[in-house]
């Protein structure tokens, strides 16, 4: 890690650290609940290990920029500024949930902070993000739109169609591919003839960049640049973030027992923990002390605990909620 290249205020580093930690501890708590109780029923795809991507990207955005997400939504939601309590309540299926309990883990949104929803359909939100960027361009606004998606989404034709249209019209959209090297149980090489996802931008005359997705600063810098270009009207960028999910595809297990991946592989990636990495850097730069760190952990833990209490204490939606919110004025 070249410290000399760090051109980021310590305030931002702190924000990144806190954001990543909020995601991590939230997710660890969810894993805990999933393992030990039936309080959360809906399928949860945990983001642990990938925190640097959501954090680095969203840190480069304004509040009124848009983000679209996937089945693995919690990290994006929190990084963009969604309310943690209401996220937990959503997982519990409560009426105070960010989606009133109708969406569950895979369908969370927080419109006030530009978090425009997550789709459980692989690649489903990619064209939506392009469409929002298209609106921004028609409106003459300077906002940008981000599509988060996994490596699996690059199997779907809509990924290519969306890149083509975005580049053709030079739209202010950033395509953020979180390449965690698996699509459910399938390693990426079993699905893609060429696993270099960033290269797929080239055939649409669009810049494509691969970045270490466990390095929050790199992710932030690359995104900042892409956002700058987008705001200037120079069109979209595809950013491939190489990363890894620690847990299995869905739920709290590690997918090790079923022979889907090796303990060595997991260990390798756990050693490359994005949070520890930033922490080390911040210690080195002297912008984080042991006491501060403890305090941050304390605060975040408390926030998570409060979210759980909020979720537990909230009522379930009433029966007639089932029929509401389909078509409204």
């Amino acid at each position: 890690m070249k410290i000399s290249s760090i051109n980021i205020s310590s305030e931002i580093l702190h924000k990144m650290y806190v954001t990543m930690l909020r995601i991590r501890l939230f997710e660890e708590k969810v894993a805990d609940i999933l393992s030990n109780s039936k309080e959360i029923i809906c399928p949860c795809h945990l983001y642990i290990g990938q925190e640097a991507v959501a954090t680095g990207v969203c840190m480069a955005l304004n509040k009124d920029d848009y983000v679209f997400s996937t089945h693995r939504s919690h990290g994006h939601y929190l990084a963009k500024g969604g309310d943690m309590k209401r996220l937990m309540a959503e997982l519990y299926g409560k009426e105070t949930g960010c989606s009133k309990g109708k969406g569950g883990s895979m369908h969370v949104a927080f419109k006030d902070v530009g978090f425009m929803g997550s789709s459980a359909i692989v690649a489903g939100t990619i064209p939506l993000a392009v469409g929002a960027a298209f609106a921004f361009s028609i409106q003459g606004s300077k906002r940008v739109s981000v599509a988060f998606f996994g490596d699996g989404a690059t199997h779907e034709g809509t990924f290519y169609e969306s890149l083509n249209f975005a580049s053709l019209k030079k739209l202010p959209v950033i395509f953020v591919c979180e390449n965690n090297q698996y699509s459910t149980h399938m390693p990426i090489s079993a699905s893609l003839a060429d696993v270099r996802i960033y290269k797929k931008a080239g055939i649409f005359k669009m810049p494509g960049i691969r970045v270490d997705g466990n390095d929050v600063i790199k992710v932030f810098e690359v995104t900042r640049k892409a956002v700058e270009e987008a705001r200037k009207g120079n069109g979209p960028t595809l950013i491939e973030c190489l990363t890894y999910r620690w847990r299995g595809h869905v739920g709290p297990s590690y997918d090790l027992d079923k022979g889907l991946r090796s303990k060595e592989e997991l260990d390798y990636w756990m050693r490359r923990c994005p949070i520890k990495r930033l922490e080390r850097l911040m210690f080195k730069l002297g912008c984080l002390t042991k006491d501060q760190k403890d305090q941050i952990y304390e605060n975040v833990k408390k926030e998570v605990e409060e979210a759980v209490i909020f979720a537990k204490e909230s009522p379930y939606p009433k029966e007639d909620e089932l029929y509401k919110d389909l078509l409204n004025d």
């Binding site: 009133k100 969406g103 359909i121 489903g124 064209p127 929002a132 609106a135 409204n328």
Partner: protein
């Protein structure tokens, strides 16, 4: 004072588009062929010259993503009109339509509106065969999350398009090109025809003929012929499939006691099955004879003109069905 002129159906659509796009900067038109001189009938004539390529967007052949893009734009405050020049091509876009447009408001507890008009054109006959002739209203009526209209007159073509564009939900606006040269009175200014209301096109006391889209034209023709045979037909233009105006149908059956639904889509699990089910459960006590349905046979469209004649519905086939109903022992 409302200024009326006689316009053709496709001119009514064209005029509505001009006025809607002119009036509201959030409205734009996107889809295949919107700048083409022939692709979508003549409904888009003059638009590209007047509004330019920022608001009249002709697109690559990428139906699914273009649909998603229109949805995304709607989420970001626009009011897009998305055209699919043939309903057959909408199969490519089903994921964005059914899993996204139809769910986005519900799934997130009413945080979002999708003020999106999905304009699906039924374009058949002339030997276009199985992949260029489909009338898929039933599929979209089945999937929760859409409003659906099928105007049958120039007046409604304009008025329902305005309502669709002003609605804050995905509205599927389906027109049949066999209606494009129908003429009728159309006000010059913008006006709305309410979504959710059917209309009695002809009063009668013996049989209720409820019809969708172009089938209304054929039903009216049939009614005229049957008048000569002393059978007095009430013709109801369903106009809005979702929400459906059940009342107008049930009220008519109360009067006539006999009911036939005529729909230009396929029969099985079709619009005709749904409406028949409503009548036979909710107007059961008023029926003097079994309610009947008339719809496309359950086969793909054939190319040969000899087979098209057998395939498509028309006033003669409606007349036969009415006679069958009247001859029923009841």
């Amino acid at each position: 004072m409302i200024k009326m002129r006689r316009l053709l159906y496709h001119q009514a659509i064209n005029e509505a588009l001009h006025q809607l796009i002119e009036r509201d900067p959030r409205v734009f038109l996107i889809g295949q062929g919107v700048t083409s001189p022939w692709y979508v009938g003549r409904t888009t004539v003059g638009l590209i010259h007047r509004f330019g390529p920022k608001r009249i967007i002709d697109t690559p052949v990428s139906e699914n993503s273009i649909t998603g893009i229109a949805i995304g734009a709607a989420l970001a405050g626009m009011r897009p009109i998305l055209v699919h020049p043939r309903m057959d091509f909408m199969y490519y876009a089903m994921d964005q339509l059914a899993n996204h447009a139809a769910t986005w408001r519900y799934m997130f507890g009413n945080q979002f509106s999708i003020p999106l008009t999905i304009w699906g054109i039924v374009n058949r006959g002339g030997g276009q065969a199985a992949q260029h002739s489909q009338s898929l209203q039933a599929i979209f009526m089945h999937i929760p999350g859409f409003k659906i209209v099928m105007p049958s007159t120039p007046y409604d073509a304009k008025g329902l398009l305005v309502s669709a564009v002003e609605d804050n939900n995905p509205v599927l606006y389906i027109d049949d090109r066999w209606l494009y040269n129908c003429e009728g009175e159309v006000p010059e200014d913008l006006y709305k025809v309410p979504i959710g209301k059917g209309i009695v096109r002809r009063e009668g006391k013996d049989v209720t003929l409820a019809a969708t889209s172009y089938m209304v034209v054929e039903a009216l023709k049939a009614a005229k012929v049957l008048e000569g045979e002393g059978i007095d037909i009430e013709v109801i233009d369903i106009r809005s499939l979702k929400p459906l105006d059940k009342e107008i149908l049930i009220n008519s059956v109360k009067k006539t006691g006999r009911f036939i639904i005529v729909d230009g889509g396929w029969r099985t699990c079709g619009v005709s099955a749904e409406i028949l089910s409503i009548i036979t459960t909710e107007a059961y006590d008023y029926l003097k004879a079994p309610a009947l349905r008339l719809a496309l046979p359950d086969v793909p469209a054939p190319a040969s003109p000899a087979l098209e004649k057998v395939y498509y519905l028309n006033s003669e086939k409606i007349i036969v069905k009415v006679r069958e109903l009247m001859s029923d022992k009841n």
